[in-house]
């Protein structure tokens, strides 16, 4: 008799999800699915609002990465106005965006993933959490908090508050950076680098003991998508869309981001509220007859794969080391290495922040352009910590939103997350033997993507979910509930 094992809810990710594993009669894994059971609603809620309000509204989709929505929304507003944002404002937006990359990645590594990496994938679940990490490695926990707080403090110092800063607006930013604040941020950098150095050392020390996980946690060919600079460098704020296949071939070298609809489509499935973005074939249909064949990954792993260089010295050195994880000229396909990619991006962020603070014009007070509505449709694109984020607006002549579409980073990883769950289940679930350690491995596979389900579904918070065991006829034969 076939069985379906359900992990519900998945823990230590943002938002909530359910996983079902479908076993065949021989106890092997036929399929596995990552279900998102929270409903999206911000797009409809925003219709009838002014586009000026959107940075503030969309920031409240999420309490972890609100700055991403602020940036993408502001850029969509820039396009509606048809203005050129003052160069200093662009630098300041970059500064805040990088600070968010630092804090979000720090949270992901130290608080969500480090318990598995340092305490062991199958260690006592009662201890394999942040509390367990604190009790065994208190200084590691402190460094994690401090590194995240660096990013949050920079956001607050620029925008007045660390969560939902009302600072970046269509046309630029509200406030310039004072010399005193610039100097204060400078003094905070050394300790931030110290925290990052510790994280790099911890991960590299742990990797030799995680070879099986590296091979099994989402290791498969896929496309990789993200922004690059016009020169092909690592980019998080602006730039061009690039698509690379798993052989390292560029399918799109540099597409204007507002043309993303030409190459991406979105499918839906009845068992999840999360959509399934995919890469289209050149004729606009499915690749090889199936949307799943157009699977692509976004986020740190993708960004490092598609760029030719980082652009800062230490990050470039780590990037060279990162590239050795794959054959020459090929992208790194193991999703487990999202952890390493995330740390490299923190390093890049800190170095780039340091560079930006040294620019003479960083304290210039001309930081906002003004105009009226000059364009009725717009796309704002930015790289969130988890991947490329698109805000697509349609307004009327008064700037009132008629239609809003948000394509979230986590959603773009949906196909890849599903494939990762299936791969891990197939490697570790055998016969009728199940234990909590195996379930944690599957959860960890999801966590490598650091998904933000709050963003992708704009959920309110906790929602208790049931574990369901289904037979081949879809009948529930067992149920488990996690608190």
């Amino acid at each position: 008799m076939s069985r379906t094992v359900t992990i519900d809810p998945v823990t230590r990710i943002e938002g909530h999800a359910k996983i079902t594993i479908h076993l065949n009669d021989q106890g092997g894994v036929d399929d596995a699915r990552f279900h998102v059971t929270e409903f999206r609603g911000f797009e409809k809620f925003c219709e009838g609002r002014s586009f000026w309000e959107m940075p503030g509204i969309t920031a409240r989709i999420c309490g972890i990465c609100p700055v991403s929505h602020v940036m993408a929304s502001s850029k969509a507003g820039d396009a509606i106005l048809g203005v050129r944002v003052p160069p200093t404002a662009v630098k300041l937006r970059r500064l805040m965006n990088l600070a968010q990359i630092v804090q979000s990645h720090a949270l992901s590594f130290f608080h969500l993933s480090a318990p598995d990496l340092l305490l062991g994938m199958e260690s006592d679940p009662a201890q394999r959490n942040l509390m367990g990490l604190i009790q065994k490695y208190p200084e590691v926990a402190r460094k994690g908090i401090q590194l995240r707080q660096f990013g949050q403090d920079v956001i607050r110092m620029l925008g007045g508050r660390s969560v939902h800063p009302a600072w970046s607006v269509p046309g630029g930013v509200r406030e310039s950076l004072s010399p005193e604040t610039r100097d204060q941020i400078r003094t905070m950098l050394p300790d931030a680098f110290t925290g990052l150095d510790l994280a790099l050392k911890l991960l590299k020390d742990a990797l030799p003991n995680l070879e099986r996980e590296v091979g099994d946690y989402g290791n498969f060919p896929s496309l990789f998508v993200g922004l690059v600079t016009p020169e092909g460098g690592l980019e998080h704020y602006d730039g061009l869309l690039r698509v690379m296949d798993s052989d390292g071939k560029l399918l799109e070298a540099g597409l204007a981001p507002e043309r993303f609809r030409e190459i991406f489509g979105e499918a839906v499935e009845p068992w999840s509220y999360l959509k399934f973005p995919y890469y289209k074939a050149t004729n606009g249909t499915y690749v090889n007859g199936s949307y799943a064949a157009g699977m692509y990954r976004v986020g740190p792993l993708a960004r490092l794969n598609i760029c030719q260089f980082a652009g800062t010295p230490r990050a470039d050195a780590e990037l060279r080391q990162f590239r050795t994880l794959a054959a020459p000229g090929k992208p790194v396909t193991n999703s487990f290495h999202y952890h390493y990619a995330r740390l490299i991006e923190i390093l890049f962020g800190l170095e780039k922040i340091s560079e930006l603070l040294e620019e003479p014009t960083i304290t210039d007070t001309r930081v906002r352009s003004s105009a009226g509505v000059n364009q009725l449709t717009s796309v704002g694109v930015s790289e969130a910590p988890r991947g490329t984020l698109f805000h697509e607006y349609t307004v009327d002549e008064n700037g009132i939103l008629q239609r809003v579409n948000l394509v979230i980073a986590t959603g773009q990883n949906n196909l890849a997350m599903n494939r990762t769950v299936r791969q891990i289940a197939q490697s570790y679930v055998t016969g009728n033997t199940l234990n909590e350690g195996i379930l944690n491995r599957i959860e960890h596979g999801i966590r490598t993507f650091d998904p933000c389900l709050s963003c992708s579904t704009h959920a309110i918070g906790q929602m208790p979910l049931d574990v369901q065991l289904l037979n081949a006829q879809g009948e529930v034969v067992d149920a488990i509930k996690r608190d």
Partner: protein, 194 residues
């Protein structure tokens, strides 16, 4: 397995012996320069999910009342509890901590005030931080854990939108009574004026 984490911890132990251990470095510049004691109010919720803003609104009212009485209060508003709040909680001048949050309730439900139970927080939790976890982190990481209470205000409508329901509006009018009750609860006589 060679553990750089263990090596790091060993180094920190040696630092402690030489009294080099420091309290958290990243104290928020929003904290008062003075080391006089103060209350810390942490309110959380999403103001675009209607009644989920109730905790934020109630906290604002209570803070306003306390400050009018000359009580030193730090007021933090966040969408959800985050780890770095630990550094504010563990700051030396924080004498008491109050968390404010909305919860799912019914029309006739009332405000609840409960002491944050530190000892009950050691169970395995997911990514969602609770007040108890934050207080435990403060104790474990920074050896400073002020007394803490959680004030919950029940809401009935958490759909997308702005504004709170009538039951929540009624409860918000009890803020003055709540403000005094909380002071009585902790027998707080007031701190230095900010």
């Amino acid at each position: 397995m060679r553990s750089s984490a263990t090596e790091w911890e060993t180094g920190r132990q040696q630092d402690k012996k030489t009294r080099k251990h420091l309290l958290p470095i990243f104290l928020s510049p929003c904290l008062p320069v003075s080391l006089s004691s103060c209350l810390l109010v942490i309110a959380y919720g999403n103001p675009l999910r209607q009644d989920d803003a109730a905790g934020l609104l109630l906290a604002s009212s209570v803070v306003e009342i306390w400050r009018a009485q000359g009580i030193a209060v730090q007021h933090v508003e966040v969408q959800q509890l985050m780890p770095e709040l630990v550094t504010q909680i563990a700051a030396a001048e924080v004498e008491r901590v109050f968390f404010f949050d909305a919860v799912i309730g019914e029309e006739e439900s009332s405000l609840q005030v409960q002491r944050v139970d530190i000892e009950a927080s050691t169970a395995c939790l997911g990514h969602h931080l609770s007040p108890a976890m934050l207080m435990t982190y403060a104790r474990e990481l920074y050896a400073h854990c002020p007394s803490a209470w959680l004030v919950t205000i029940p809401g009935i409508n958490f759909a997308h939108g702005e504004g709170v329901s009538l039951p929540v509006q009624r409860l918000l009018t009890t803020a003055p009574t709540l403000a005094q009750q909380l002071l009585d609860l902790m027998k707080y006589k007031g701190g230095a004026q900010r």
